[in-house]
């Protein structure tokens, strides 16, 4: 599992991904870890198949016993199907996840970890000297969906927004935005169901100060590429499915 440090200050951000031992037929995912003086927080810890590699990778950054919080942006298996295993490894931790999915996510196994429901309007989680804001991103793509914004690190963990379907071993950051759009287009058109939700999200995210936009699949955006992404996404028609050769817009 590749580890990349994204930010170092009063706290540290890491991204894990590009696991060389991953099964070929499962989608590659980015997992995020924030380590601060009070403990550690795992964002979208990943699926059951990535657990072993993640456990080993996270243990190189902090003591596993120090993991206090988990966050799940939504209910998908590649996001949180490892929950039953983390429930064993860090029974004292709390899971922050959308209220909408509580009864569903618990199917992955959540006997000891406390499930903290995030209300639709979002909430904040104080974290040592900083705080994480859980930003609503409903219908992008899940009907109960949140992103994580860290104002002091200026990082937005954007879940499936900005995701790209790429071959194994691709770089961690976008290096040529125009070229990269071809890897994102189909994903966003098909997975994102609502133009209204998309445009509302773009409007709100434009107000944030962001250095790095960090999706759950594919490459991360930094610097000007963040604004380029927002412009591209705003102009993109989403909610398009192909049926019998015809296009229909949601």
């Amino acid at each position: 599992m590749q580890r990349t440090e994204l930010f170092r200050g009063n706290h540290t951000w890491y991204v894990f991904g590009r696991d060389p031992d991953k099964l070929n037929d499962i989608i590659d995912t980015n997992q995020y870890l924030i380590v601060d003086s009070s403990g550690a927080t795992l964002l979208d810890p990943g699926g059951v198949e990535t657990f072993s590699a993640m456990l080993a990778a996270v243990a190189t950054c902090c003591d596993i016993a120090d993991i206090r919080y988990l966050f799940a942006s939504h209910q998908d298996p590649d996001i949180i199907s490892s929950l039953g295993l983390w429930d064993r490894a860090v029974p004292q931790a709390k899971l922050y996840a959308p209220w909408l999915w509580e009864g569903f996510i618990k199917h992955f196994g959540c006997r000891q970890i406390e499930y903290v429901s995030i209300p639709d309007e979002g909430m904040s989680l104080p974290l040592g000297a900083t705080r994480l804001d859980f930003i609503p991103a409903h219908y992008l793509h899940s009907s109960g969906n949140f992103h994580v914004y860290d104002r002091s690190a200026r990082i937005l963990m954007s879940g499936d927004i900005g995701a790209a379907l790429e071959p194994p071993g691709s770089p961690m950051f976008v290096d040529n935005f125009s070229e990269h759009t071809s890897r994102m287009k189909l994903f966003h058109q098909r997975w994102m169901p609502s133009n209204k939700a998309k445009n509302d999200w773009v409007r709100r995210v434009r107000e944030l100060d962001i250095d790095i936009m960090a999706p759950q699949h594919g490459r991360l955006f930094r610097g000007d590429d963040v604004q380029r992404f927002l412009d591209w996404f705003e102009a993109l028609e989403v909610g398009i499915a192909h049926r019998g050769g015809e296009q229909s817009a949601a």
């Binding site: 657990f51 243990a59 295993l85």
Partner: protein
């Protein structure tokens, strides 16, 4: 990558399969009860000509009810065994994933070592629960088998009694045949379930994952 041992999966699969087979035994037990009711009616019409037949039908009737009751119990036990085997399977898979993660570290640390130890203990307990459940399941299967064997014997006795029932002989022999056929079917299913479970469990025992259930 999942490294779940096939022998545990096999036990889970075979037990789940036996649940569906045993559902057929319930239907057959119903047939025995119906035959007994039918035989009672014939015997009542036959009066003194079938006097020796009445205690047999009463016995078969009672045995049919007991078999149905046992089949319900064995179904519950089989479903519990499936659940326990699945819990064991899940724990074993979790422990393997945890150990694989730890293997990637130079020093797993006290926390992960303690977690692995707890999981190993839990797995042992889950395995013991599966074994206990299997023992119970086999006991109930044996009881059903005994009932079916007795039904077989009673059908032979019924045929003897039928010979003195004059014009009712044919009807009573037909009842005896139905009971005999039902008992044979039950014994076949029980035998098949037992050999499936034994084969799957022998494999677990061979690999030191289970205690012998005999």
């Amino acid at each position: 990558m999942s490294q779940t041992p096939p022998h545990t999966e096999e036990l889970f699969a075979q037990t789940a399969r036996s649940v569906s087979y045993l559902e057929g035994v319930r239907r057959t037990a119903n047939e025995i009860t119906l035959s007994a009711a039918n035989a009672k009616a014939v015997a009542a019409r036959a009066g003194s000509k079938a006097a020796g037949f009445i205690p047999i039908t009463n016995f078969v009737d009672e045995m049919g009810r007991e078999t149905r009751h046992l089949v319900e119990r064995v179904n519950r036990d089989a479903q519990l065994t499936v659940r326990e085997a699945l819990a064991e399977l899940y724990l074993r898979d979790s422990l393997e994933r945890m150990q694989r993660g730890c293997a990637g570290l130079e020093e797993p640390g006290a926390h992960l070592t303690a977690i692995s130890r707890t999981m190993t203990t839990d797995l042992k307990a889950a395995s013991d629960r599966t074994n206990r459940q299997l023992v119970q399941l086999r006991e109930v299967l044996s009881q059903i088998n005994d009932h079916a064997r007795t039904a077989s014997m009673m059908s032979t006795r019924a045929r003897v009694e039928a010979t003195v029932a004059e014009e009712y002989q044919h009807s009573l022999e037909s009842v005896a045949d139905t009971v005999e056929a039902a008992a044979t079917r039950i014994r076949e299913v029980v035998l098949r379930c037992r050999s499936m479970l034994d084969a799957a469990n022998d494999e677990r025992s061979r690999r030191g994952l289970a205690h012998a259930t005999n």
